[in-house]
Amino acid sequence: MAWFVGRRLVWALFATFLVVTLTFALLAASPNPETSQAAWQAAQDGSDPEEARALVDQQHGAGDSLTTQYVSYMVSMFSLDWGQSTTYNEDVTSVIANAWVYSAITVIPATIIAVVVGFGIGLYSATHQYTTADYAATLVAFFGVSIPNFWFAIVLMLVFGELLGLTPISYDSEVPFWSLEHLSYLVLPITVLATAAVASEMRYARAEALEYVSATWTKTARAKGLSETAVTIRHVFRPATVPLVTILVADLVGIIFATAYVVEVIFGIPGLGYVSYQALVRMDTPLVLATTLIPVFVTIVANLCQDLAYTVLDPRIDYEGRSP
């Protein structure tokens, strides 16, 4: 097991290195929109556009040669000294430290809801196939998967925030963190985040569970005299966790990260999704590289956890004896 984990970590390090290098190359290859904007402004004012360009580049640390820049970024990345954001003039670590909390308070509950509710409904509708509840759940899943997040978020905001006045419209970071009021600010963002994820988890859970609902061992279990609950949990849900864990990581990371940006933009949440996007738009290299590391890191760690979870969940998989 240690060998396996070790190998995975080395691979993770290598993958991170690759991703960061690639990101750096992309940034170096694309023109900075701020540069052309500044030069345009200068030319309009009759000033020297070249000086304006040089000033912006200097601000972004683009004066040095590419190799020098690359080496210095790599060193700072891997020594975890991420330097200063060129747009916010603040330490990258502190920018991220401030932003992640806002992402966490929406992403974590949404993930938990997605897993609990998604799996719950999926399981229920699989064990109650062909009932009204099952059809309703399928419909909801279809809705949740196909509705555009952007649109959904705005509609929720306009209906619940503006029309009904039940929730605040945009997020307010000055609300006391541990308060019911704070919760009211988070309801809509979490709902949007969770809807897509719940729908998707539920579809998978239903499909997987359905396979086990009709498995012979559930019949065996029922024939043994187990209660329906015990059958559902021990013999349908438990084996279904094996394939679900596979989907869970890729799916949740994908859905939640993509949706998080949209939700943060619409509800004005200063979270990591929005900050990373802004960093990219403003070509803030240190911040882009650092924020790139986060999803890469999360994905790698999540995949590792997933593989480890397999060994616990599925006795047929054993990394000790066989190769992964």
């Binding site: 009932t131 012979t216 061992w217 005299g225």
Partner: protein, 356 residues
């Protein structure tokens, strides 16, 4: 038949709702299983034998399946009207099941000991340790070597034959009165099949339990059965003592089955045609479309009533009916043209599963 039958089924009807319509999978089946007796339910795939077996403890999936009529009495109690909770106290403790596919009937994520223990603890308040010890005993009794070492192994670490032994051990966990074995050997290698049949026979001898064996395999019937119930398209065509059935088969269908049994007279002579539509079964005798002896009357009216043809031997064929005895000559050998309506052999293409 006798009043003290362990299991007595009368006019059982079960249906499935499908997109095409209502499948009448079991359409008035009656038979008994006496104490300590082995009864075989024989039939082709789709004849309703599995549905019948799974109706007893209401294992069939509802929906889409549903028991719509009839009576099932177990040890004098009507189980059809039992509440789910009550029925659960019988499942596994007094009536146990063994299924066809040992590959799938064990949950891959729990050790075999845990799964046997689960069966014990579902009915008896015993500690995990106690349950584990009993699981080891059971594994030993079904012939798993070194059971103490293997009790914590997972299903994938056992061979298919061993898995079926484990499944049997699990079924025996609470010393059931009735063991319902649905095609227990079909999925196994021929060499292993005999071992499992021997095991079942010896276990029955030891424990004196009743066995209801569902099979399409007349070889299995010959080996284990005391009595035989022949099912066709959801109805019982013939019921007889095993010796009677093999020596004096009464129903044209049974006769056809026996004739094409390999090794009986060395020649395979399959029965022509396929099972009738279970959604809209034909009037009259359900076997009529394939029967070489069918006359016009066989195609009309209700199903032929059971006629007593011997001691504890009934067959549902107009050929034994007072009114038509003259019109049907069951002893006439079918012509080549009549046997031409061939398509399948009863012992091939039967997978032991009912409609799903």
């Amino acid at each position: 038949m006798t009043d003290d039958s362990l299991l007595s089924i009368r006019d059982l009807r079960a249906q499935f709702h499908t997109d095409e319509g209502v499948v009448r999978a079991v359409d008035g089946v009656s038979f008994d299983v006496g104490r300590g007796e082995t009864v075989c339910l024989v039939g082709e795939s789709g004849s309703g034998k599995t549905v019948t077996a799974e109706s007893i403890t209401r294992l069939l999936a509802t929906p889409p399946g549903r028991i719509v009529g009839g009576e099932i009495r177990f040890d004098g109690t009507d189980v059809t009207s039992m509440a789910e909770d009550e029925l659960r106290t019988i499942r596994g403790s007094r009536i146990a099941h063994v299924f066809q596919n040992p590959q799938g009937s064990l949950n891959p994520v729990y050790s075999v000991g845990a799964q046997i223990g689960e069966a014990i603890r579902a009915h008896r308040r015993v500690s995990r340790r106690h349950a584990r010890a009993r699981a080891i005993d059971l594994l030993e009794s079904v012939g798993i070597p070194d059971p103490a070492a293997r009790v914590d192994d997972y299903p994938h670490e056992f061979s298919t034959g061993q898995k079926q032994r484990v499944a049997i051990a699990m079924a025996l966990a609470c010393d059931p009165d009735l063991l319902i074995a649905d095609e227990p050997t079909t999925a196994l290698d021929v060499t292993v099949q005999a071992d499992i049949l021997d095991l079942l026979a010896s276990l029955q001898a030891e424990r004196g339990m009743s066995i209801l064996l569902v099979t399409h395999d007349l070889g299995v019937v010959a080996r284990l059965a005391d009595r035989v119930v022949v099912l066709y398209a959801g109805t019982v065509l013939e019921r007889a003592d095993v010796v009677d059935l093999f020596e004096r088969p009464a129903h044209p269908y049974t006769r056809a089955l026996l004739e094409c049994l390999p090794g009986v007279d060395g020649e395979v002579e399959p029965i022509g045609g396929t099972l009738p539509s279970p959604i809209d079964p034909p009037d009259g005798c359900r076997f009529a479309p394939r029967c070489p002896h069918a006359i016009e009357e066989c195609h009309a009216g209700g199903r032929p009533p059971p006629s007593t043809v011997g001691d504890d031997h009934v067959a549902s064929c107009l050929g034994y009916h007072r009114e038509y005895r003259g019109a049907i000559d069951l002893e006439r050998h079918p012509t080549a043209e009549e046997t031409q309506r061939v398509s399948d052999r009863p012992d091939a293409g039967i997978d032991g599963g009912g409609p799903r």
